[in-house]
């Protein structure tokens, strides 16, 4: 383990670590809390839950978000559900099982101590959300309903139709607004954090830009929490919201916070494919569709016939062929790579040839026959059966079918859906210890912004759980460990030279953007970066491609800083300027991601190195050499130092993942 990294995992047996910690951690008394100020950047599940909980405890809290309202944070878009080890289904779930599934799902690259804590508090999250009035799906008897998700054998996913993230966020947002109404939280919406202010080696505040007036502001805090989400938009096209970005985390990284495992990216297999150069974002089609849809491509290369006219024996159900045991239900990373393999080999469908079919014809027929039987129909015609089957499918997935039709203009009840993998989630992020503190004292990272719980691959419905665990149940305890020693620190006036230095740093960057007066828009550079990343640091990577990508990104950075055009000026509402700052940081991050992917000479979870695969094309992990967290320290542009945190598995036996 690098001497610079201390994960601070409490000693003792895994099931007692957290309760022991809570029993002995430092506390801050109520009178002192009132004079301690905490800055929370981000109002998604992690930020809103942390801010409201800390304000309830008596701390003075300021919340920042770049949207016009905290309710619009990207967490709002999560569809499927949230996991919790409640065992309400009496199907054998337990804290240990959730812990085990998460470690295994992460391909043995996450920390045991953190993940066990996550599983322990998961049940409290559901209790808290229900108490707030979150309308989860229920059974007729009035109890909560569950569904199952990938990578598990129990039903532990709680949901609110296809809008779970929305309902959870509105719950956390209402708790936050309650504190705003009581004056305990100051809300700074349409504000973007652009630097961390460091005094005597500790984080003591931030520089934020008021996005309406364009003014730079200095804000002091005894501690700063970054809850700023993931960085999937480094690929330009992803399922993330347009504004999702890495800037807050990256500014912290440049000030000394290490970035951990930046190359671990989750590519979701079922998204609506790109329809043209105008494409601005990609839309997810829920994983649940793979329960009933069959995935295939034509057997003939370059076949241009419409999907529904291709005869059965000319179709290649490649997942069923390659993975007879799991078929269409292989995990996300495996399904994504298999689709890419077929398209790269020339068997893709649709105008772009970068799509595969997701076909419900067999499901229509199967469900239709069951329905006809139920109805006692004797010799129903094929048409009658199909019509009955379509009704069943409509009830299960109607909203998704409508969404597909809205976007593509095609009717998925008549022609098979076209789908393709898309960037969805980033497991990597700021390195944090057990307290969720980064390598900068007083600076914390929560939610998707940190790296802590999902290893090399995240299971479905576990990101919402982690964001709320961090905010509601972890940080309220762990922040005391730090703040208890800060009670004598008076609020530092923002005319302190460190604030002036940081503000000047931000101002200089803004001035530089306007001074370039080049010819290309921000989006031009963002799209080019995205293409390099997708082609060479995407679903499959190799040493040659990654080496090339690093060179290309360095070249792109030079062009960016010499040929960028930002319109308007700094003292007004200016989305082009906002985007310029974000893309500048994405370019630097992209290089580090490639560097991280290049150094990790193994395949694990979302990181697939073509050189490291089994004969059948399965990922080949190398526990001997790579069972560690790669934490990168910023030394200067294009210059990083690698620090390793060894991972110890004391409670779970490491094994290979096999889905055949």
């Amino acid at each position: 383990m690098s001497s610079k990294l201390n994960s601070k995992i409490p000693a003792g047996p895994i099931e007692q670590k957290w309760s022991e910690y809570k029993g002995h951690c430092k506390l801050v008394n109520p009178a002192n809390k009132r004079s301690l100020e905490i800055i929370v950047v981000g109002s998604g599940l992690a930020g809103a839950s942390a801010a409201s909980s800390l304000a309830e405890m008596g701390y003075k809290v300021k919340v920042f978000c770049f949207q016009d309202s905290p309710r619009r944070a990207h967490s709002i878009a999560a569809q499927g559900g949230i996991n919790a080890a409640k065992n309400y289904q009496n199907d054998g779930d337990s804290v240990y099982r959730l812990f085990y599934d998460t470690i295994k799902g992460g391909d043995y690259r996450a920390r045991e101590g953190n993940v066990h804590r996550l599983a322990e508090v998961s049940g409290n999250i559901i209790d808290q959300c229900v108490a707030q009035g979150v309308p989860f799906a229920r059974e007729y008897g009035g109890t909560l309903s569950n569904r199952s998700f990938g990578g598990t054998q129990v039903q532990r996913t709680f949901y609110a139709a296809g809008q779970t993230g929305q309902q959870l966020l509105l719950g956390a947002y209402s708790a936050l607004q309650r504190q705003v109404g009581m004056g305990a939280v100051t809300l700074c919406a349409r504000h973007e954090m652009l630097d961390v202010v460091m005094i005597d080696g500790k984080a003591r505040g931030i520089i934020a830009r008021d996005l309406i007036s364009g003014k730079l502001e200095s804000h002091f805090g005894h501690a700063v929490l970054l809850c700023t989400g993931g960085y999937g938009n480094v690929f330009y096209l992803s399922t993330n919201a347009m504004g999702s970005n890495v800037t807050a985390a990256w500014k912290a990284h440049r000030r000394g916070a290490f970035m951990a495992n930046p190359c671990y990216t989750q590519i979701h297999p079922t998204c609506i494919p790109v329809s043209g150069d105008h494409q601005s974002k990609l839309t997810l089609m829920s994983e649940s569709l793979r329960n009933d849809g069959r995935i295939w491509v034509p057997k003939k290369e370059g076949d241009t016939r419409a999907g529904n006219t291709i005869p059965e024996d000319e179709r290649d159900y490649y997942l069923e062929r390659r993975y007879p045991a799991f078929g269409n239900l292989v995990p996300r990373d495996v399904a994504s790579r298999a689709a890419k393999e077929r398209c790269d080999a020339g068997f893709g469908v649709g105008k772009s040839k970068l799509a595969v079919f997701l076909d419900f014809a067999a499901a229509f027929e199967r469900y239709g026959k069951v329905e006809a039987n139920k109805k006692g129909m004797h010799s129903p015609s094929k048409e009658e059966i199909i019509a009955l089957g379509k009704d069943v499918v409509k009830e299960k997935y109607g909203n998704l079918f409508d969404m597909y039709k809205q976007i593509t203009g095609e009717n998925p009840y008549e022609v098979p859906m076209r789908i393709y993998p898309a960037v969805h989630y980033t497991m990597g992020g700021l390195w944090v210890d057990y307290n969720l503190m980064t390598t900068i004292p007083g600076l914390y990272a929560l939610g998707e912004a940190n790296f802590s719980d999902h290893g090399a691959n995240r299971l479905g419905a576990s990101a919402l759980m982690q964001g709320l665990a961090d905010g509601y149940f972890v940080i309220p305890y762990t922040i005391g460990e730090y703040l208890a020693d800060e009670i004598r620190t008076k609020a530092i006036p923002t005319d302190h030279p460190a604030f002036a230095e940081a503000e000047k740093n931000v101002q200089d960057t803004i001035d530089k953007f306007f001074s370039i007066k080049g010819t290309k828009s921000v989006d031009h550079f963002h799209k080019r970066l995205g293409k390099i990343m997708w082609d060479k640091c995407g679903m499959a990577r190799n040493a040659k491609g990654l080496t090339e990508a690093i060179g290309e990104i360095q070249q792109l950075r030079k062009e960016f800083w010499s040929d960028l055009r930002v319109t308007g000026d700094a003292n007004e509402f200016n989305p082009e300027l906002e985007k310029a700052g974000r893309v500048a940081d994405f370019i630097e991050l992209g290089e580090l991601m490639c560097k991280d992917a290049l150094h990790r000479n193994e395949s694990c979870g979302g990181h697939f190195r073509e050189e490291y695969q089994e004969d059948g094309g399965e990922a080949k992990r190398n526990d001997e050499e790579f069972k560690y967290v790669a934490a990168w320290e910023f030394k200067g542009v294009s210059d990083w130092e690698l620090n390793k945190e060894e991972l110890n598995y004391e409670n779970i036996k490491i094994a290979a993942r096999n889905y055949k």
């Binding site: 839950s49 909980s53 878009a77």
Partner: protein, 256 residues
């Protein structure tokens, strides 16, 4: 399926530097627009063109681009979120228009939603209404096991339907009185339908409505325009329910 040849359109878009200046409609021709593009992607194309000729792009709000964050907010040919019902601006696609069309795009219009720039407005009044009472007062850590509260499925479903509001403000923009009744009633309904919301039910309705009035939203005269334009099809029934809540809140207050 694939479409050959793009459309040529004329856009008339509201341009306004900030809340202190006057605005005006500006005309922009756009060409070669694919029917597969979303309405906002058409704006991306236009903005790219404006930037490449050194002109200022059009400012508009957007984030998720899949109809859930409530950020996008364009008034298109006289209708909030455009010609199709039940969707947001970002879910509108260009195949809903035809070659040669003229499309007029304006920001939400309401005293309580001042223009920030071009098509961007300030909807923070909605946040202040929620801060006045749109919550259940339960601190973190106080909750009992979730299944201790049993809720009939129909009530849970009704509460969910009300909670589906995305806070976009189209209801206000659609209303000739700029009333926020649909938005406010959706939150009051959600919480009054659930047992968790009962304890604060009277003060909640009173406080939220008081702030709604302070913020300068107009009165509801039951035109139903809000429901017709709401992208989440929030029902007018919520307003009726809220009126009952508010009425009972007032009666209780008078008794004190």
């Amino acid at each position: 399926m694939s479409h050959e040849g793009g459309m040529n359109l004329t856009l008339k878009v509201w341009k306004q530097k900030n809340s202190k200046t006057e605005g005006h409609l500006e005309t922009y021709p756009v060409s070669d627009i694919s029917p597969d593009m979303s309405f906002l992607e058409m704006f991306d194309v236009l903005n790219e063109k404006l930037i490449s000729t050194g002109k200022e792009p059009i400012a508009f709000d957007h984030d998720c681009r899949e109809g859930i964050c409530g950020m996008c907010s364009m008034h298109i040919n006289g209708r909030p979120h455009g010609p199709k019902g039940g969707i947001t601006t970002c879910q509108l696609h260009m195949r809903s228009f035809k070659d040669g069309d003229t499309i007029v795009v304006e920001p939400w219009r309401a005293a309580a939603f001042p223009v920030v720039k071009d098509l961007v407005v300030d909807r923070s009044s909605f946040d202040r209404i929620i801060a006045a009472g749109g919550y259940v007062s339960v601190n973190t850590g106080n909750a009992k096991d979730a299944n201790n509260i049993l809720i009939p499925k129909t009530d849970a479903d009704d509460a969910f339907n009300a909670a589906a509001c995305i806070g976009c403000g189209a209801c206000v923009a659609a209303c000739k009185n700029a009333s926020a009744m649909l938005f406010v009633s959706a939150k009051i309904s959600q919480l009054s339908l659930l047992p968790q919301g009962q304890i604060e039910r009277t003060s909640r309705a009173e406080n939220m409505i008081a702030v709604m009035d302070e913020e300068g939203f107009g009165n509801c005269t039951n035109t139903g325009a809000c429901e017709a334009e709401c992208p989440k099809e929030i029902s007018l029934e919520n307003i009726a329910r809220m009126n009952r809540e508010f009425f009972s809140a007032k009666v209780l207050a008078n008794k004190k």
